[in-house]
Amino acid sequence: MNPSVIAGLTGATLVGLGLYGFILHPHPLRKLLAFNLIGSGVFLVFGIVARRGAAAGFRFDPVPQAMVITGIVVAFAASAVAVALILRLSAANSDLSLDPDARAEPSDGEGP
């Protein structure tokens, strides 16, 4: 078992755990946490790809690692937008459920 295999399996497990939480947890912030778990699992897959790609005097392939850094930033930005949206929603509405029927489509057409 070399570190990259272990990390790969860890990554896959994290993805699985995240998927489970993302699908089942009704609370949007919990979904967001689960999304971040999936995300870190995915980054680990990049990580082992980079680790396996050690060659030419490098102990890793720099390209996937660079992508992970970009990915982490983007994922953070996503989390920030989501958190802002969740907080805004909580200020406007006490029910945070995303269930489509709990909050029917606008009852009237006084739309935009």
Binding site: M1, P3, S4, I6, A7, G8, T10, G11, A12, T13, L14, V15, G16, L17, L19, Y20, L24, H25, P26, L29, R30, L32, L33, A34, N36, L37, F43, I48, R52, G53, A54, A55, A56, G57, F58, R59, D61, P62, V63, Q65, A66, M67, V68, I69, T70, I72, V73, F76, A77, A80, V81, V83, A84, I86, L87, R88, S90, A91, S94, A102
Partner: protein, 317 residues
Amino acid sequence: MSVLPYLDVGLALLVVAVAAWTVAARALFASVVSYVAYGLLLAFVWIRLYAPDVALTEAAVGGGVTGVLLITAGKRLGALHDIGPDVRPGVGLKLLTGVLAALVAGALASVILLLPDPPPSLAPEASAAIDSAGAGLGNPITAVLMSYRSFDTMLEKIVLVLAVAGVWSMTADEAWGRAPSPFRRSRPYAPTIFLAQMLAPIGTLIGIHVFWTGANAPGGAFQGGALLAAIWIITMMARLAEPPRVDARWLRMALVAGPAVFLVNGLTGEFVAGSFFAYPPSVAKPIILFIEAFMVLSIAVALPMLVAGPSSEGSDQ
């Protein structure tokens, strides 16, 4: 032989256990705290994968800034809104989800084990390119980020700007133009103030150091910027500084400085180096450091703004 494989397995188990707790915890806040711990642990996994740059980023963002963001949110939401028991999923659904998620994870694990051997890699190309192009960068990751995939990096910075705009768009209309709400309403505790006072100078120094060494060693604009961002956040938490108004011109300019300088440089590349986003070989390193400096600024401003959230009413006194 070596104890390292056992440590690796132990670390992996720990990470998975904390992740599982994040998913399984009943209370929202417990889950959030668990996630923050998870983010820090993950940094060790990255070290073991010979990815110190990623580890730095993960620690600074995954554990640090995201932690503040989530804990703040979790605290605001935790007591107020929990989804009632009526929408809790049933056992059948849990089982089905578990099985399908496990199947996907299993499939993923098996294809990871099936990845080709010898593995394909761009490391040789990167190595050769770094040598020949004379970018003058000892850290291949910085070279990739700032040179080969500079387009991605610029886009990513624009994503940050856009995220800030997105977060600000969640403002209530009446509150537009004001400053984001401070992290604490009441006067902070003395230890917080002390910590902030002590950390601010050291942290700033370290942040700049991390950015500067990034050219040749692990570190770089993002990691350095994230550290500076953390310092600003702590300073604001200690109320040694107040968040700026969202319509402050300097704030906007600081936020776009990084991508804007990047873009302008990318344009000029066509004329001075024959191609958009190319650098003249002789001055590649100074130019890259120049761009990175502005990126540090933008990151150091953008992350706290993302964490601080939209401005709210009554936050303007």
